[in-house]
Amino acid sequence: MEFSATEWSAIHNSLRVGLLVVLVSLPPGICLGYVLARHRFPGKWLVEVAVNLALVVPPVVTGYLLLQVFKPAAPVGGFLDRALGLRVAFEFPGLVVAAAVMSFPLMVRAIRLGFQSVDPNLETAARTLGAGWWRTFFTVSLPLARNGVIAGCVLAYARSLGEFGATVMLASQREGNRTLPLLIYTLKDRPDGLASIWPLVAISLLLAAGALVASEYLERKGLRHESA
């Protein structure tokens, strides 16, 4: 398969977006997943609604709201531009922000399930052995929740690869700033479009399937001892 420069840049962008979304979302995803799994506090339902909102709101609407927040004329967008030189709307960071917002609920959900599957008695046992909160978290809770964390990463990565609705609002359809779905959508209306899309579709399938295979492998590796 021969890819043009445009196509390569879309593949490259999709991969970068997927990996960056996982990296950026993972720390807050783990924090939020743990808190939702382990703690009860007033207003918890509000947090849950806020986290899951992106699952139910039409992606284009989410994209429109993100645009209103991050456009250069808006306070947040303007501040990021002035203080950090970071332009979100219409630029590459916009691809990441849109995908991150859309995939975050899926990641939190999986990680939360991971922590819920860890018996709190194991954490208590660690405390009686002299481990403080941090040591307990990093040596007991997190390693035992690993399958949930892995699943969360795969879901977030896959959702980012497929993200279209919010992205199309927040990022411009500029050459070199497209992900695979955006490029496929653009090529569709060209005369020979449907045929030239095939290789890109194949690559999309490969990237998604690769993530699933990797997660299967990691989960099995973790399970080997526990079920022995």
Binding site: D119, N121, L122, T124, A125, A126, R127, T128, L129, G130, A131, G132, T139, V140, P143, L144, G222, H225, E226, S227, A228
Partner: protein, 356 residues
């Protein structure tokens, strides 16, 4: 000096209330009671994962909890080791890593050495295995070793023998006794087995519905007519200590105080002293020593108390230790039994079971 001074009150949302005060002075103290009596909650308060609404807990010279003064030491700083009923070994760590998990903590007194724990609990061949592949008895030993290696000032054990079958119970009990004698760690254990309490503990707190209903030595505390021993189990259990067991001719014999007992065959590996267990209903009481019986054991003693229960009358006979006999009310009437009566207890050798 008391090692543990406990005085807590806690009301759960369900309405169940634990209100208990006791001092543990001996090396091994048992919390004895039916399930749901609040025993595990007491361990939780001492370990620190359950914060009582009112609580004053002192361990040696340290206050673990003093709610009037606003003191509540977090679990990890209490130096209280805990062996859980379900072990709670870390499934993602090898046995060796489980054992070493709490080892970093520096305690007072000489540290307990890893190699020695592995040796005493016979864990050498398990070190590279994972908890998922261990048997119940092996898990119990690992959990005990892990708690020991955190160098605890007090060891808590929640029903350490409950999940094990009879044969395994005796083996683990032998390990527990080894551990307590080797390291002299004050131990508080929760149990609902009379035999293990009598054998292992010097002091017993009997709990029911969140409160202490009896306290004292095993003989005193388990002899109280609390509803517990009598409705939640088959009544008192006879577990007598026998010294100097030996084979004379083809008959095993041993001493019960100054009297001789004829025993069933003893396995060569059994410890000395050993314990025999038998049911109170297997004991016949006689006012005089009758000759010409096939029953081989004739143990003389004095009636120290009598308890009337649904099933019959339990007579405690002081033979140096307390021996329980179950008789009918009619028999008590006909023999004129009362506290202070001199009796002979007739026990068939066949009804004795040698335990450890």
């Amino acid at each position: 000096m008391s090692r543990l001074d406990f005085n807590c009150r806690h009301r759960f949302p369900s309405g169940f209330e634990v209100d208990l005060a006791f001092e543990a002075t001996g090396l091994v103290t048992a919390l004895f009671g039916p399930s749901g009596s609040g025993k595990t909650s007491v361990l939780g308060m001492i370990a620190g994962w359950l914060t009582p609404q009112f609580g004053r807990i002192r361990l040696g010279s340290r206050w673990l909890d003093d709610s009037p003064a606003g003191v509540h030491l977090p679990t990890e700083r209490r130096q209280v080791g805990m062996v859980f009923q379900d072990h709670w070994l870390f499934p993602h760590m090898s046995v060796g890593d489980n054992l070493g998990y709490g080892q970093r903590r520096r305690g007072s007194g000489p540290p307990i050495r890893f190699e020695r724990v592995v040796e005493v609990l016979e864990l050498e061949h398990l070190l590279s295995r994972y908890p998922g592949s261990l048997s119940g008895g092996e898990r119990q030993r690992v959990a005990l070793g892990r708690a020991l290696l955190s160098n605890p000032v007090l060891l808590l054990m929640d029903e350490p023998l409950a999940a094990l079958d009879e044969a395994l119970k005796l083996r683990i009990l032998a390990y527990l006794e080894r551990v307590v004698t080797e390291w002299n760690i004050p131990t508080l254990f929760v149990s609902h087995g009379q035999a293990e309490v009598r054998r292992f503990a010097q002091q017993v707190v009997v709990m029911e519905r969140g409160r202490a209903v009896a306290e004292g030595t095993p003989e005193e505390a388990l002899g109280q007519p609390t509803p517990l021993g009598w409705t939640h189990s088959a009544g008192p259990v006879n577990l007598l200590r026998i010294d100097g067991a030996m084979l004379r001719g083809d008959q095993w014999v041993g001493r019960l105080g100054g009297q001789e007992m004829k025993l069933p065959a003893v396995q060569g590996t059994s410890s000395n002293p050993l314990f025999v267990q038998f049911r109170p209903s297997d004991v016949t009481l006689s006012l005089e020593d009758v000759q010409g019986l096939s029953t081989r054991n004739h143990v003389r003693g004095v009636v120290s108390r009598m308890l009337e229960l649904a099933g019959g009358i339990f007579v405690a006979v002081d033979v140096g230790q307390i021996l329980w006999a179950e008789v009918t009310p009619a028999a008590v009437r006909d023999l004129g039994l009362q506290t202070g009566s001199k009796v002979t207890c007739l026990i068939k050798t066949r009804s004795l079971e040698v335990v450890g």
